[in-house]
Amino acid sequence: MSKPRAMQEATFLILTALAAGPQHGYGIISDVEQISKRRVRMRAGTLYTALDRLREDGLIQVDREEVVDSRLRRYYRLTPEGGDRLADEAARLRANARVAMSRLDLSDGVAKA
């Protein structure tokens, strides 16, 4: 398999929202908003295009369906592969962030010297 490309932020946030357990569409939107500290407000069209692709790639799957107040709610959850991809991406981001932080600290040190 070819090396996976860096994940788009929307994808990363959706997978992160599902990492804690299955959620329905509106739950994902609210959670993404909370995780991103209100920076990312995902719209329904964007969400469902992303969910469709993630299902196709085998990173998420349908968990269950519920009808609440005569409205259908379909819950999605991470597949083991989805969990692995999210973990890889989180590790990649952390490594990048660590380098950035250490370089910034270094340049601070130089500036103070």
């Binding site: 069209g45 469902y48 295009t49």
Partner: protein, 139 residues
């Protein structure tokens, strides 16, 4: 008719842009999400939400169409794509020849047709093709 029924009807109208098969599976849950996200008393979809549904619906339709092309009469579609691409390039040359430089806007469309022809060609050769993987998730 109350506000929420009005709003729901309008959302459903926008969702008609999605391919039928996709709608059969997802329309109900998408309406639920849209209605959950709408503030009390809202009667019309907000412009940004409408634009988002239109773009994503058309995108889904494009994707669905790609898969369809690969399965049904791929050789015929290959010819259609190649001829469309060539016709557009000829048209571009003619337009530019007459000093109508705006004809250059047709070049990306022609390239898109050639790109699709290439994909269909690969499917015919039998090495798969992915039926169109989406470069676009944000809209």
């Amino acid at each position: 008719m109350n506000d929420s029924t009005n709003l729901e009807r309008r959302y459903r109208r926008l969702l008609k842009l999605y391919p039928g098969r996709y709608r059969a599976e997802h329309e109900q849950e998408m309406v639920s999400v849209l209605m959950d996200a709408a503030p009390e008393g809202q009667q019309r979809p907000r412009l940004a939400d409408s634009a988002n549904l239109v773009l994503n619906g058309l995108w889904m339709r494009l994707r669905a169409g790609r898969g369809w092309e690969n399965v049904h009469h791929p050789r015929l579609w290959l010819m259609v794509r190649l001829l469309s691409g060539m016709w557009l390039l000829i048209l571009t040359f003619v337009l530019c020849g007459f000093g109508r430089w705006w004809g250059l806007v047709l070049v990306p469309v022609a390239l898109f047709h050639f790109h699709r022809a290439l994909r269909i060609g690969r499917v015919i050769e039998g090495d798969g093709g992915d039926g169109g993987s989406p470069p676009l998730t944000r809209a």
